[in-house]
Subunit: 412 residues, 2 copies
């Protein structure tokens, strides 16, 4: 039986005419192996940024609906050009916008969520033996208004379509060879991982390892869709994201450094029930992501509450927090942008008591002060001063990923 | 009662940010006078040409469907930016693509015809007091595939929408003050006409006077929609296109020069029934426009057939003609690109016997050889050598439009 493969190519992979033909050839090669192929593409190179820039020149606060109308043209240009390239190489191809693919989303413009996919059109075109090229990052709400899916939207489109058409696998093409134990630009000894679990990938993605967007990984995990991260410029097999029981017996899969965070502290919060709730529900209702909450008692009936936010949401987060802070009678709101988060991720973390102590020991040996700690089944994260980030990352990678000393210890 | 005004702005009118704001201000001014306003816009400046160029770099013969997918982004960018501009000036606006406006077309990509408009969405937005901005030039076929309407498509969109929503008038904004007696760049004494009939406008448009596309004028005539041609850069009232009985008593409204034609001759065609039919039905089925057919008998049972085509369709027309020519056993196919068409247009032409002789006399006085002649109720056209074009145009304008000598004659 023919298998169905969904391939997603990012903006750099279709950044110019030569690269568009590179993608066209890869897609055709996959088709020639006897697969039905659906290709999801992003906007070419910097197109999206250029369109946003144009919008800002006209209106510093453009409406989200009109911004979606504008931005969605970026992918529409890529899909038509890729279809033309494939056709010029003698193969049948058809491009479809998000709305044409039946991708129904919420009306939350600029950050819509996929609600349903009516995949009849795609299936019909696949049955007619065409290569189907789909605009990533976009859909339409129930009124037919064009929506975009926000960050990582094209990855999400690819996984959601894979699920909708029951694809055998979803390949995410990018400009690196796969998922690494850590960022190779920061740690020269970083090595590529052949398999990683959804949960680990999720942590690595949300920690700024950056190859895949968490939303797409969550979706793949939910429907158990095989996800493969590969380079569009090499033939490296890449990294397969799989269920945890399909994993090799590694304890720590990766080490991550997230520089794009900031710390907000609300000082001297009256110690009454529901106060923390007020702050975090206000942030949530403004779609601001927060993390790593710490509440420490200073003196009787007064607390400090500290949490981290994404640096590009800091301005908005501060506004919301200050407003609530005034309402609840806190003393002041402080913020610190000079922090980073280092983390280790691995399915074996919860099962090994040594790991946490080994983690803290490594930072202690470097004389690094830990400001905040957060742990989960498969992750340990610390907030430290940004000056220590690279050092900590290298030491943690050396400790957990290169020589696998923990596994050795465990074996003893 | 509030009236509904449809305004169409061409690509140069929205060619940069300053001009987009100029359009935004005009639209708002119209709204502030108590009108409901629908604005139809083309792609900014040279966007369409740039997109075509990009496509050709990838595929010298891109599929029309994919070309439509690509080109339609041009208008989508304009409408979102214009909506943002109007919003930044404090007014409610919403942009809609052709498909979102319910513009249902044939599937003839690159040159689709509007079949039906479901105007519910536009009406709903107008009722909510919004300025509605519509992407001209585009629609969707019954499968939801994006189509474009070909040359003059945005004018056609504007008129068709005006009819669908029962607008009081349709204003076509351009970079000239209205319709002129002839091209002011070629004839310095050309003057703007305040009123012209649909039929005259149709002839002027199809003869290369160029302000309005014939399809839009035909549609306006069919539904008796008041059409106004105005400048987006001045407050000149422009030219109103009206029914013939609303006309002033001018005999000749305009003089036109069409340089974009070429002459094709099929030499020594066997004189059998149905031969001419074969040539012209083949051209028609290839969507090639032809005009000015002459068939002259050379000798017994052999004819020459000569006709004109648009210069940008010459290549295709020659291919089709040569194929048929071989089939029917004609001797050869010749072509001549060094020809132009001069014409006079006016509702009074059929009623005045003097006009034709005066027309030919004018060319004769200049020593110009007439190669082909064609006349209608409201038009006389001649094919002459291109070197004589400007001279002929000026002389005919002087004769018929400036001093109105015919009217004087008539009065005698």
């Amino acid at each position: 039986m023919e298998s169905i493969v969904v391939q997603k190519y990012g903006g750099t992979s279709v950044g110019n005419i030569e690269r568009i033909f590179n993608v066209a050839n890869r897609v055709i090669a996959t088709k020639n192996k006897g697969n039905k192929v659906v290709v999801v593409v992003s906007a070419m190179g910097d197109t999206t940024d250029e369109l946003v820039e144009k919008a800002k020149q006209i209106n510093p606060n453009p409406s989200n609906r009109e911004l979606d109308m504008l931005l969605s043209t970026g992918e529409q240009i890529s899909i038509s050009l890729l279809a033309m390239a494939i056709q010029s190489l003698g193969h049948e191809a058809i491009s479809l916008t998000g709305p044409q693919c039946g991708i129904l989303t919420t009306s939350n413009h600029k950050n819509a969520r996929i609600e349903k996919i009516n995949s009849n059109r795609i299936k019909k075109e696949l049955e007619e033996n065409k290569i189907v090229i789909v605009a990533g990052f976009q859909g339409a709400n129930e009124n037919g208004d064009i929506t975009t899916l926000g960050r990582g939207g094209s990855d999400t489109s690819a996984v959601a379509l894979s699920v909708a058409i029951n694809a055998n696998k979803c390949e995410i093409y990018t400009d690196v060879d796969g998922v690494y134990t850590t960022d190779p630009r920061l740690v020269p000894t970083a090595r590529q991982i052949s398999k990683v679990s959804y949960d680990e990938m999720l942590e690595l993605a949300s920690l700024g390892a950056g190859v895949l967007h968490p939303r797409s990984v969550e979706l793949a995990r939910k429907y158990n869709m095989t996800l493969i991260v590969r380079s569009s410029l090499s033939n490296n097999p890449g990294t397969e994201v799989v269920e945890v029981n399909a994993m090799e017996n590694t304890i720590v899969s990766g080490v991550a450094l997230d520089k794009n965070i900031a710390k907000i502290s609300v000082i001297e919060v009256p110690d009454k029930p529901g106060i923390a709730f007020k702050i975090f529900s206000a942030l949530a209702s403004n779609n601001i992501y927060f993390d790593m909450i710490i509440q420490n008692v200073n003196r009787a009936h007064v607390n400090d509450i500290t949490f981290t936010v994404k640096i590009d949401e800091l301005h908005e987060a501060l506004e919301v927090t200050k407003k609530i802070s005034d309402e609840i009678g806190a003393k002041e709101v402080l913020c610190d942008e000079s922090v980073v988060k280092v983390s280790i991720v691995g399915t074996g973390i919860a099962g090994s008591a040594d790991i946490a102590s080994s983690f803290f020991q490594t930072l202690y040996d470097l004389g690094i002060n830990i400001q905040m700690i957060s742990t989960s089944e498969i992750k340990i994260s610390c907030i430290i001063n940004e000056d220590n980030g690279i050092n900590a990352l290298n030491a943690l990678h050396e400790k957990f990923c290169n020589n696998n000393p923990i596994e050795e210890n465990k074996a003893v």
